[in-house]
């Protein structure tokens, strides 16, 4: 095996110029693959966190201020108890927090949302729902409230100090705000209807996303809520649940079956994917064309050497192995090139101007380029060599 690598390396060294081109080409193809996969994943980033809700039996509800018999519903636990076969709920809350200094808009989330979806932050970190100290993430604001500041609010007679732990990006997409502000409800409801963008200039007041589960703060179910039923729920039970939800006073805005949400979401995501389809086809076709052409040329160039190896006692199979070793060396250099390029992209901050994500999925798809290249570089020599004889090659060269 060492000999094959040595011969492969020799052949790699002899063809420096063309191999540099090939390495550059594979590196570019891998970077393209990472960018493309990141783009595709970005279209799913609002669907994936609550995928289990959208793809289960359930209901998408929205409340402006949920009350039952004129009492506010202070917990989504109410729905768990009154509705049949509820498995989990991702609900949003308004609070009774008040500030005499600054007018804020407030929202709090169930653990299901806090743990599953982190909005785009320009600074700091996301809130924790079980803190010692009440935490909040704030939208960009004109009040000069920064990350690290503590603001003093009141809830009834209680004074509540709240620590700002993060700041949202301008126009960041936030779970839950569309229901209250009515941003998306004119359209067909889909996964996007659960989110809204918060523009402080338009909304006038900064938004405070406050951690839930604090004893001294009053919470009330408001905004949209995703309710997931058990798989064994019957149509009749779903209907009964819908009747109970419709009975919620002052603010049950709508309830849409999750089946509809799922269908609309899939249609929306499909439209998004169509945008990328020409690019995807181009990348795939170009990767295959490049790999085929590069392997074909490389083999054709090496045929004379392989014939000499053949005359010296080597078999065609061994020549293919030498070719494979050369391809592996090329792949190693291309991988190194890709790592360096990624480091440069991240270090120079270019990754912030594009959607450039490094995670197992993007790495897997960029590795596919290498696998395709390697497989073609293994198969093509066999096809080319199989059709010719050493005598023909020597005569031609």
């Amino acid at each position: 095996m060492e000999m094959f690598f040595k011969l492969g390396y020799n052949s790699f060294q002899k063809n420096k110029i063309i191999n540099t081109f090939i390495i550059l080409e594979i590196t570019l193809a891998m970077i393209i693959s990472i960018i493309m996969t990141s783009s595709i994943l970005s279209r799913f980033k609002y669907y994936t966190p609550f995928k289990d809700y959208f793809e289960s039996k359930g209901v998408f509800s929205s409340f402006s201020f949920a009350t039952n018999n004129n009492y506010p519903i202070i917990s989504t636990g109410y729905f768990k108890n009154s509705l049949k076969k509820v498995e989990s709920i991702a609900g949003c809350y308004s609070t009774d927090l008040y500030s005499k200094d600054f007018p804020f808009n407030y929202i709090s989330y169930d653990d299901e949302i806090v743990n599953k979806f982190i909005p785009s932050l320009s600074e700091g970190r996301w809130i924790n729902n079980t803190p010692e100290f009440c935490e909040a993430v704030i939208s960009p604001n004109n009040e000069n409230i920064k990350v690290g500041d503590t603001i003093n609010l009141t809830s009834g007679d209680n004074k509540i100090p709240i620590k700002i732990v993060g700041m949202l990006n301008n126009n960041a997409k936030i779970a839950g705000i569309s229901g209250f502000f009515g941003n998306n409800f004119n359209d067909k409801l889909n996964y996007n209807s659960f989110y809204g963008t918060y523009n402080v200039e338009f909304e006038e007041n900064p938004l405070l996303i406050v951690s839930k589960n604090m004893k001294n703060i009053g919470y009330n179910v408001s905004y949209p809520a995703l309710i997931k039923y058990s798989d064994d729920i019957t149509e009749k039970e779903i209907e009964e649940n819908h009747k109970i939800l419709s009975g919620i006073q002052q603010g049950f805005l709508l309830g849409e079956d999750m089946k509809v949400i799922k269908e609309n979401s899939k249609a929306d995501l499909f439209r998004e994917m169509l945008t990328l389809l020409p690019i995807i086809i181009s990348v795939i076709s170009l990767t295959i064309i490049s790999s085929i052409s590069v392997s074909a040329l490389s083999t054709k160039k090496q045929l004379r050497n392989y014939t000499i190896y053949y005359i010296c006692g080597s078999r065609w199979k061994n020549c293919v192995l030498i070719n494979a070793c050369q391809s592996l060396i090329t792949i190693a250099y291309a991988t190194l090139g890709t790592i360096v390029t990624i480091a440069v992209i991240i270090r120079t901050g270019l990754s912030e101007k594009f959607i450039f994500t490094i995670n197992p999925t993007t790495i897997f798809f960029s590795s596919l380029i290498l696998i395709v290249y390697f497989l073609i570089s293994m198969i093509l020599p066999v096809l080319i060599i199989r059709k010719t004889t050493p005598v023909t090659i020597l005569k031609k060269n």
């Binding site: 002899k14 063809n15 110029i17 063309i18 081109f21 090939i22 550059l24 080409e25 570019l28 193809a29 393209i32 960018i35 493309m36 990141s38 783009s39 970005s42 279209r43 785009s120 990006n169 301008n170 126009n171 960041a172 997409k173 009515g182 941003n183 998306n184 409800f185 004119n186 809204g196 963008t197 918060y198 523009n199 200039e201 338009f202 909304e203 006038e204 439209r271 169509l274 945008t275 990328l276 389809l277 020409p278 690019i279 181009s282 990348v283 076709s285 170009l286 064309i289 490049s290 085929i292 052409s293 590069v294 074909a296 040329l297 054709k300 160039k301 101007k353 594009f354 959607i355 450039f356």
Partner: protein, 378 residues
Amino acid sequence: MSYIFKNIYSFIKNDKLIFFITFLCVLVSTFIINFSYGLYKNYVQEKSEIEVDLTSIWTLINQDETNTLTKGTLLDYLYSLSDDTKENIEIIYCTAYLESKEVDFDSYFEFRFTVKDNKIQKCETFEKNIMKNGQLKSENFFTNENEENGDSVALMCLRRGGKTTYDFKEITINEKKYKIIGHYNFHTTPIIPINSIDDNVKIEELGFTFKKNLNRTIFNDLKEKGGNLINYEDIVFPEDNEKNFYNNILLISILISLVSAINFSILYKYIISKRRKALSILRMCGCTVKKAEFMCLAECLLITTPIYLGSVFLFHNIMSKFLSKTFIFMKEAYSLNIYLALFLIYMIVSIIILSISINKTIKSEINNILIGGDGDVF
């Protein structure tokens, strides 16, 4: 020239696979170049469509035969708005179809005014703007009294075609004589005071311009008071990082073109290397390096040009029709001139890259052969 065609013929005949790959390479490059351009134009158009302008807003008038927005209901709506909203409205713009035989603009009239203390007032901002821009051809504009009392006065516009103004002194609108007090050359629709028309005249369009950026309070006030008749599209702010998605698509397109270019270079290097012996003989027989370069370059262009043109034909007739379903502004981006410009860019870039590549390759290949080497440049 005959050598060039012979070379092309032998290339197609002897290196079918390489020729096919070259063909695919040019085809993909052509598609990508044309697609990238269309995508860029689509993005620019889409970006301007999704940008939220918070200083002006158009209404959606939900009128049918039974429920129409008339001048009377419009004024009631405007008077019902909160003081803060009224204070912030800088221009109220609306249009209506009125009968007038003296003009050639389909009897389409516009109104620009403001509301102050529940009284219709002239639109000072519009007056200042057209005066500042030299668009008010006479010094006269409506007075506050004209607007409030609904005097029969009109500010005439340019004739259709936009070159001359109407020069008569009176105009009949809905069987009512209006005195022409001035001319402006900003639009081709005359302006008259809103109060000069009957309360039952149907309003076709309505829009507002604000002194400062629209906010949630004003928006909700406008929306709530409008009921079902005067509606507004919800303001959804485009997500901040959405532009990054388009940056990604553009970057991918550029990188794909780059990969195609590299691929083509690799392929052509191979073609030249196969011709090294023939080229050496030609050189020995008196062919200069420049002539040899020209031969290779001409051959290259003769191969790529028909493939490029064929690909453009396919792109225009099949691909762009399919793509325009997803990228709605893409089709408008293409014209014969654009295709020609893109072709020229492609050709110029190809000629530069190929000239450099051919020059270096020919010299090294021929030298290798002439000094007795094996001619292997790869």
